[in-house]
Structures are given as structure tokens and as C-alpha cells.
Symmetry: C2
Subunit: 427 residues, 2 copies
């Protein structure tokens, strides 16, 4: 199947597409001049940027076939293979390559693209970091105005890499994207998710089923609404034993996929909330509370069926450079006993209360959506909270799957090299 | 198969074993008195410890069946279900339970064991954290003096939970343990690893094979020694395409298992090194370098076969409370271009050089071991570096598998509740 084949177009093809797609970008980021400074080489680019590269950096990242294995891409040179502070004899621009000739006779040719891509001047570094901050906090109002971009057609997604690229960009931006017209067949959720990457195998399999069952052992769950949370909480009978264990993994699954195969029940709408927006509101209202929840670990645990999983992590994960929220961990029903210094306990609870109030009691933040047959919702499980309203027992069948964040970014970078080759590599 | 059954003995059985195993520990940690303080309840234990519990904490962690679902273990009470700073009407010790009667009529009974286990007074918190710091840094000399404890018999491991418990304790302490007498059959590595927990499925399967192949495409790897590293680096032909991808996952696999099925080749010894010891040496020699490597992100990347994985993380991971090393990330051949502020570059390289020198050039740290048929080496992949010396092509077949750290700790806690029920829960 197409989706299972390795993505890779050939290097040549990528280069041709790149040249075709963005000839100006290429020209702008070409090297105009190189000169040696004290302890480093400075490259001046046509767009005016200047990037210094320290001698040690250049020698350690030498791209010659002795230092970098051309077939595996592995680095063959060790830091112990050359002296501290290696000294170049000359630096020159030759046939589009920056060539460093070292005093010990070694020659290091660097393709310009390599240097531009990995330049660590302040501006270049900022551009790379900015990719991960492409998140646009949303309320339903914002989403509705972006609705076209947030829906992707199944046939496009399965057949065109451009559609996958569009999809991943939307997910990076909003953490949410709806796919329409998915055939109502079991296993389709896996085919769609694999357009993003390898499925995450969990204790209950690569895909899982959410069905309403009459006479559920735990009636409370089958009729009561389920409050906003991350991760699965559909049906206590089928899901409970294994489902919740996920929350306690060191790295919760990055993306969740929910395919609606059958929905003949009444009610059972999904509610989605963007924690980037929640964080924004909390930070504006009570910055001290925001900071406390970002620096004090909450406890999540799961203890039954022969398992005992525990994780202590702050609810709000911060971007180290901006200080804004970059991810959340939120699953109130699986919170374990708070385990922090006694003197912080009441202060923490006050901050936590404020957060829960924003999540549960501000309907303006809630995007309501009753799953329609053939819909497949994809969302960032570390950013988007999901909830479910009550539903009356009728035939209802959703099928779900997960893909890790790593796999998402992997695919993102590969497609970017195809469709936007000069863009900074997201990290 | 036995190993695939859920572990769980019944609660009653656990309680009986616990009482049998450590009656004195139980008695010592029984509550002697409770009294209400301003804003909190203080429990005095028979061993002299005093643990305060804030009212909000108690109410939020209420163990009554309305607040905690007895079948799923889920927390049903939300922080919004009770007022800030709830006030008790009375607190008492009744039939071994601490009972809090609240002004609003709610009654919260707490089993003593629950309170003792989750007490957050300074001493109790310290005990819990100390579990993760059980690591004993080792040189081969240290290991040899502990040799009996570091070898476990296959039959014991497969048949007795006590042997598994022994094994996990050794792994927590030394990160390394050898299992002897494993049948030379494919799939045995999975059976052994599953005594610890669920296998980590990777892009190249639940288990993988390391075989020497004549006329390997990349001769360099088949005859040259492989320097110390984390993760797999056995055979370039079979392993290269997928193997290295692992290094770049957000969370590298926690434990690695290597079962020697056939070894008729010459050479091909394994070398193991403890990074806890490496960190200790580095910190003693050059604390500034240690600190730099623990706070500055290195870049690891893998870019081929349609994949582009990138991770930026410090080589040394610090325990936030002690400031000592708690884990490493080290794979020199897959380092990507260093991506840090220019002014730190040379300083970083000097520190990194010092680290590599300790790892590569201090043979006193190297534990040499030629895999023997029927041996199965298990080791912590975030703590222990492994290397391989050259070997001449002969029949050699190892089979490997991974289990995540989460799964390890899960099993550890469950077995601890059986064999050392009053011990602090490792976090």
C-alpha cells in the first residue's frame, strides 16, 4: 500500500523540486563571501545574514567522506581525532561549497545548504525554534473562521502528499483537523494515521474500539457526561482496564485519531478545548497561578490489574525560551495524591482550582461536535482536551489510534524538505 | 504462558504476605494519634514520625466510594465539588482508619496505609525520591566483588517472582545483570524481557537479530571495533537502516536485552561502562564541564530512508534534587550539528572532549565480556554504554529486545507491594 512505502523521493528529485519551488529563496540564502576570523569562519549570505562557524564546530561537522559515512550518514570523526582548537590554513568559496583547508592537511568541503541549514547565529537559531511555536491559540470562534483549512478530504489525504503536508501544518498550528469522507470500514483509522507515521502500539493494540454497550458494568460512565481531559475515556467497560494506563507513560501519545464508523445514538457530542487558549486565559488572569502549575509536579497514577504506574510532572509544560505553555498534562480522574512540600499545598490547590474553572466553566472555549459517520477527528493529545456529552444507548462505534509526536515531526521535516526546502527545520 | 498472565496476587494475599513478612514494619508505621491543627490534620505514627495533611488535600483525596470509584480506581471528586479550604467538624482514629467528618456532612475515611504511603512530610518525601537514587556507580572492580548478585539463573527468573524482584533491584542498583542458562532458541529473549514488562515495539519489530554476515556492504563496521555508545550498533547491513532511528525518539528505550544464541566467531567481546561512574569522575575532575554538559543541549539526528528525526537534549540528565547525573544520552556517531549560542561553542567542545576522553581512554572503567552461548545480558540503556570489539566472521547470532523504563518501574512497584509492602513507592 502506498501509505506503507518509505516516503523518500530521491535527493535529486528533492533538489529539482526545491529549485523549481523556491528559486528566489535559494538565491537569497546563497553564500556571498567567506572569511576567516579569530577562531571562526564567517559566512556572509546574499540576504545580508552573517553566520559564524567556530573552527572546532567545522572540524567536528566535516562533511568529507572520511568524516561522514556517505551510505549510513553516520559521523565517523570523533572529537579525539583532531586537536583542540584546530587551525585552518585557508577558507574559500569554491563551486558553491565552503572549503576549509586545515593546517594538518585535512580538507573539509561544506555544501552551502548544509551551513545555511545548521547556522547557529542568533537569527537562524530563532527561526528554528519558532517552528515549534507555530501554535495559534483558539476558541471555537477562531476555528470557525478558519474552517476551510481545518477540513481535509479523505481521498486527497490518501493520494496526495501535498494534502498530508497541509494536514500536518494545520495540526502544528491548531492541534486539530477534521478529515471528511472516510469509508465506514474498520481499519481505516490505521490507514489514515499511517499517512502521518508509524502507529503507537499500546497495551490494547494498534487500534481500539469505542462502542456503546447495553448494561455497562459501570452505569455512571455510560450515561454521565465526561469532563474535559487528555487521552481516552470513552467506555468504562471496554476501555477502562487498559485505556487509562496510557496517561501514565513517560511520554503520552502525541496525536489521537477517532474515526466515526456508526453513530445512531442520541447525544454523545464531543467537546474540544485548546489548552494553549486555556493557558493564555489563566496567565492573563493569574500569572502566579500559571507559574505555579508550570513548576510544581502533579501526580498521575494508575494502580490496578497488576499495574502500578506513576508520573509526577507539572500540568503545564513550558517552552524554555518564551516561557509560554508548550504542552499540557491533564486528566483529573487519574490524579494521584499531590506530593509536594507541605507549605505549598494550599497555594497549589488554589491555582489548580482556577485552572479547572476555566476548563470546565467557560463554554466560550468549548468546540462542540457530534461525530458524523465518515468523520475522522485528528488532534494533538498533549494540547487539545476532549470531553463527551451523555448519549442514549444506540449503535455507536468509533475506532481510534495513536501516533507519537516524534513520528509526526519526522514526517513533517521530510515533507517540508519536499515542499518548502529552504524553511528552518522544526525542533 | 505464565509470564503473560497479569501479575496480581489478590489484595488479601498481598496483605497476608505483608503481615507475615514485615509485622514489625507494619506496627511501626501504624498511626498512634491524630489531631486537627489549623488548616490541617496531623497524624503521629508509632515510629515517631509526624505527617501533616492539609484539609484540601484530604478532601480531594477522599477514599470514600463516592469520591473514588471502587471498581476502576478513578477519582470521581472534582476540585469544583467542594469549597476552597473545606473545614472538618471532627477527626478521629476508628478501627485503624483516620476518619474526617466535614462541616458539610461529607465523611472521609482514610486507611492508615494510604496516609502513610502518601504522606508528604519532608522525611516521607525524601524516602520516595531516594528510591530512584539507588544507583551505585561501578567500575569492573566493584562489579566483580558483587558478582553473585549480578547473575541470575534462567529457570529461577522464569518460575519465581522472587527472582524477578531480585533482578529488578539489581538493575536499579547497577543497571546491569546477566542471566545464565537461557535456552539457545529464538524468541527466548522476548520471554525473558516480558518477565520485566511489555516489549517496546520499534520500527524493526519486537525483537531483532544481530548476525555476522559475510561480505557486508559496509566492511568498515564489520571489522572495526565499535566505540562506547547507547543503543544498537551491531551490524551495519542488517541494523543500520532502522536501528539508529531509536536514538532519536523522545524517550530512548529504557532496558535492553541481548541473548547470545550462537557465538563461534573470534573476538567480538562486549564492553560495558557505567555512566554514573563516568559522571562521577568528570564531576570530580572538572565540575564546570560536568555542569555545562548537563545544561547545554547536544543534537542527535537521523536523516535517511525517508526519515528525519532530531532531538536536542543535554548529554547528562540531572536529578533535579541532588544535582547528580540520573541518566545519559550518548551516541557520538549520530550527533547532529551542535546548535547552541556561538559564545558557548568552544567551551562546550572542551567539556565534551573531556567526557569522551574519560569514556574512551580509561580502561579501568571498561567491563569486558565475550558473550557466551546461553547468556542474556540485560542493561539500562540510559545508563550503561556498550561497545564491541572487532570479530572475525564466524557464526554469531544475538537476539535483542527492549522494555521501557515505565514498564520496568510498573513491575518494580507491583513486586515491591508483594515482597516489601511497607517500602516507599519509587518515583
Amino acid at each position: 500500500m502506498d501509505m506503507l512505502k518509505p516516503l523518500g523521493p530521491s535527493r535529486e528529485l528533492i533538489a529539482r523540486r526545491a529549485a523549481h519551488a523556491q528559486p528566489e529563496a535559494h538565491a537569497r540564502s546563497a553564500a556571498a563571501a567567506v572569511h576567516a576570523e579569530d577562531g571562526r569562519v564567517e559566512v556572509q549570505w546574499r540576504d545580508g545574514r552573517t553566520s559564524p562557524f567556530h573552527h572546532t564546530w567545522l572540524r567536528h561537522n566535516c562533511q568529507c567522506p572520511k568524516c561522514l559515512d556517505s551510505s549510513s550518514g553516520q559521523k565517523l570523526v570523533s572529537i579525539l581525532d583532531f586537536p583542540p582548537r584546530p587551525v585552518p590554513r585557508s577558507v574559500s568559496l569554491e563551486n558553491g561549497q565552503v572549503v576549509v583547508r586545515w593546517k594538518d592537511g585535512h580538507v573539509s568541503p561544506f555544501p552551502q545548504d548544509f551551513l545555511r541549514r545548521y547556522a547557529y547565529d542568533q537569527q537562524s537559531r530563532h527561526e528554528r525554534r519558532a517552528m515549534r511555536r507555530a501554535a495559534v491559540p483558539w476558541t471555537p470562534e477562531v476555528l470557525i473562521s478558519e474552517s476551510v483549512a481545518l477540513e481535509i478530504d479523505y481521498a486527497d489525504l490518501m493520494n496526495k502528499d501535498e494534502a498530508v503536508w497541509q494536514w500536518l501544518q494545520q495540526l502544528l498550528k491548531f492541534g486539530y483537523c477534521l478529515i471528511r469522507g472516510v469509508p465506514q470500514q474498520e481499519g481505516e483509522v490505521a490507514r489514515v494515521a499511517q499517512r502521518m507515521g508509524q502507529l503507537r502500539d499500546t497495551i490494547y493494540g494498534l487500534t481500539w474500539d469505542v462502542k456503546s454497550i447495553e448494561n455497562a458494568a459501570n452505569i455512571a460512565y455510560s450515561s454521565l457526561p465526561i469532563p474535559p481531559h487528555m487521552d481516552l475515556m470513552y467506555d468504562a467497560v471496554l476501555g477502562c482496564r487498559f485505556t487509562y494506563a496510557l496517561r501514565y507513560y513517560e511520554v503520552p501519545p502525541g496525536y489521537q485519531f477517532l474515526h466515526c464508523l456508526i453513530n445512531q445514538a442520541e447525544g454523545g457530542a464531543n467537546i474540544f478545548l485548546d489548552t494553549m487558549q486555556v493557558a493564555k486565559v489563566l496567565k492573563e488572569r493569574d500569572e502566579k497561578a500559571f507559574r505555579l502549575l508550570a513548576t510544581t509536579p502533579a501526580t498521575f497514577h494508575y494502580q490496578r490489574s497488576g499495574h502500578h504506574l506513576v508520573q509526577r510532572r507539572p500540568i503545564i509544560e513550558l517552552d524554555q525560551e518564551t516561557g509560554d505553555a508548550s504542552a499540557f498534562r491533564y486528566a483529573p480522574t487519574f490524579e494521584g495524591p499531590l506530593d509536594i512540600e507541605g507549605e505549598k499545598v494550599e497555594e497549589y490547590y488554589a491555582a489548580y482550582r482556577e485552572l479547572v474553572r476555566i476548563i470546565n466553566q467557560e463554554p466560550d472555549l468549548h468546540l462542540w461536535r457530534r461525530p458524523e459517520e465518515g468523520d475522522l477527528v485528528s488532534f494533538d493529545n498533549r494540547r487539545i482536551l476532549h470531553a463527551r456529552t451523555a448519549f442514549s444507548n444506540g449503535n455507536r462505534h468509533l475506532q481510534g489510534a495513536y501516533v507519537d509526536w516524534d513520528a509526526f515531526l519526522d514526517r513533517y521535516r521530510v515533507l517540508q524538505s519536499q515542499f518548502a526546502p529552504m524553511a528552518a527545520i522544526p525542533q
